[in-house]
Assembly symmetry: C2
Homo-oligomer: 350 residues x 2
């Protein structure tokens, strides 16, 4: 899944090239490419599909030249994860109705890839033998307030458990209670299930949505699919798969994993997951001369020298026509800045 | 005089287009053009000369198309104000040995231009009737530590006095004492004198320098002048006219004036002399969305949107390949940053 617009990383991430298409960690590969590289040892290349927004067709093809056009699903509108997952499921089921599917975001960081591989293999084993919707839960390492938390219930085996509850973005005190209890894991947004299990769940819990795609019976995988999607996808409700299915279904399980993970959802998490310069700053695409300045992240499009004095724990993001300077502590405010920029200047700076 | 490199305004001012060539006040005219406009009502156009560094020949011609090539004196090297003034004096004296001359910097701000005109007219009257080196002294309005101060002595008439002492950049306490005394005026760097008086003074107080130009007797104003200057100017000592002549000569007078003046020598003075947005920030060439941010100056090359949160009293200066962020209180540190950039990257970012 790589259709997001990455507005939290504005203006380094712009609507024409959002976060997943950027070499955010300076590895020489974009987050999408890193995600592709990560699953290539597990999933046969021809079974890897990309779901993205139609406007990103070219950048996906440019970044993943091995993915043939028939494996790129182009959403004509942004409708959150449930419609995205529904379409991809119906598309894949038309190829193989017995398919097991992993859905994963393309803009996350995973550091211990061997552990990741083992976790995925084990997860596939589980969903192939159980009518189960499986989500990967990350053992939390700090009382992060930006993530969703999964409470575990009855164990099925040593690290797969029934899910008891989902809680979105708790406050700090609650997050600390969650961690102390040992019962809560971060919701990674990585899902494994059979095509049949998720289709059943969609029909049960979001029948309006499932209906849209059931109407398309026979078109998936044919030349008519494109037109069908263009006509019907935009009418789907915009809803996340967590809200639409995971929080309602009774056959939801969590595999508790420990591979190093971050959703890289905030500048702070990006800073925390990036190598620091000797001065304690993180730089993306720039040289820094710093004086009495640390804990900052400088993300600059087009190589640049940044000379900075007396700045601590800020994000400084610069693109061709926008410069953002904001304390990392207030980065949740960036969303409002983007809205204000839109109100005042239209699409110009988005 | 417009040969400076404006390093205090780096990186908004770069060596290829320093401060005097920039529309620093957003008026649509560069500081050089504003200086030209200001003296045009006082000095016949054909008597206005520009002394600059050879590398700025094109930008001077572009910005002042009315100044013919024979009135642009191109220094082959940067040698501070004394050699600059010496050459221009010898050049003008070859045209008219009885000339009265005003020397003025091209990068200062003067707000009350009618008062300026009256002061200059009165100053010319004085130096035409007295063997005098006249400098314009500005009545100080605050204990500025970045300026030179002139102590007045015996009055000649109601606002022209003998000069008693010069003091460069006093500390804050001393500056306050100066102001309280009523005897001290800011040294504006605007001088009036006859060609004869300044030539005499140069010969008396910096004979080595005067010698260089005396050797050129007969070449000034001829086709040979250019070659003579290229051969001899670089060998001149680099020294200011204040240090070379004004602090030594006995016939130095000051005209005490009150036209609004700033040398625009610092980002802070530029901020203080520029119109503020409703949020209390000064913007050069950019739109600003500001939150909890005031007292800043944003100087951006190439129009840009600046979105800023939680920043107070900083200079943010951005050019194609350099971004500077520095508290205005520490702007004297910019010189060191420029030096560090030069040490580490050579001329690339200057």
């Amino acid at each position: 899944m790589c259709g997001g617009i990455g507005s939290r990383f504005w203006p380094y991430s712009r609507t024409d090239r959002p976060k997943q298409f950027i070499d955010f960690l300076g590895t020489g590969r974009s987050l999408l490419q890193m995600s592709y590289d990560r699953i290539l040892p597990i999933i046969p290349k021809e079974n890897i599909f990309v779901v993205t927004n139609a406007v990103y067709a070219d950048v996906v093809k440019e970044q993943l030249p091995d993915i043939t056009d028939d494996r790129i699903l182009l959403e004509p509108a942004r409708r959150n994860t449930a419609p995205c997952i529904a379409w991809a499921t119906y598309h894949i089921a038309a190829i193989d109705s017995e398919a097991s599917i992993m859905f994963c975001p393309s803009d996350h960081l995973i550091t211990r890839e061997r552990e990741f591989e083992q976790s995925i293999v084990k997860g596939f084993e589980f969903i192939e033998n159980n009518d189960a919707l499986l989500t990967l839960g990350i053992k939390p390492t700090r009382p992060e307030t930006g993530y969703g938390y999964i409470q575990i219930g009855q164990p099925v085996n040593d690290n797969i458990m029934k899910v008891k509850t989902f809680t979105e973005k708790p406050n700090r005190e609650l997050a600390q209670v969650f961690i102390d209890s040992g019962e809560f894991f971060w919701n990674s947004g990585i899902f494994l299930w059979s095509a049949r299990a998720i289709t059943d769940a969609l029909r049960t819990h979001v029948p309006d949505l499932a209906n849209v795609f059931d109407k398309g019976d026979g078109v998936f995988g044919t030349a008519d699919e494109r037109r069908f999607i263009e006509e019907n996808f935009p009418g789907c409700m915009s809803i996340s798969i967590d809200f639409a299915v995971m929080e309602k279904a009774s056959n939801v399980y969590v595999e508790c994993v420990t591979f190093g993970w971050s959703d890289l959802g905030t500048w702070s998490s990006l800073r925390d997951n990036s190598p620091k310069n000797s001065d304690g700053n993180v730089t993306q695409n720039c040289e820094v001369l710093s004086y009495n300045s640390s804990g900052n992240i400088f993300a600059i499009k087009g190589r640049k020298l940044v000379a900075v004095n007396g700045l601590k724990n800020y994000v400084v993001a610069d693109s061709d026509d926008v410069l953002l300077i904001c304390p990392l502590e207030e980065e949740q405010h960036i969303r409002q800045i983007v809205n204000d920029a839109k109100l005042r200047y239209g699409e110009k700076y988005l």
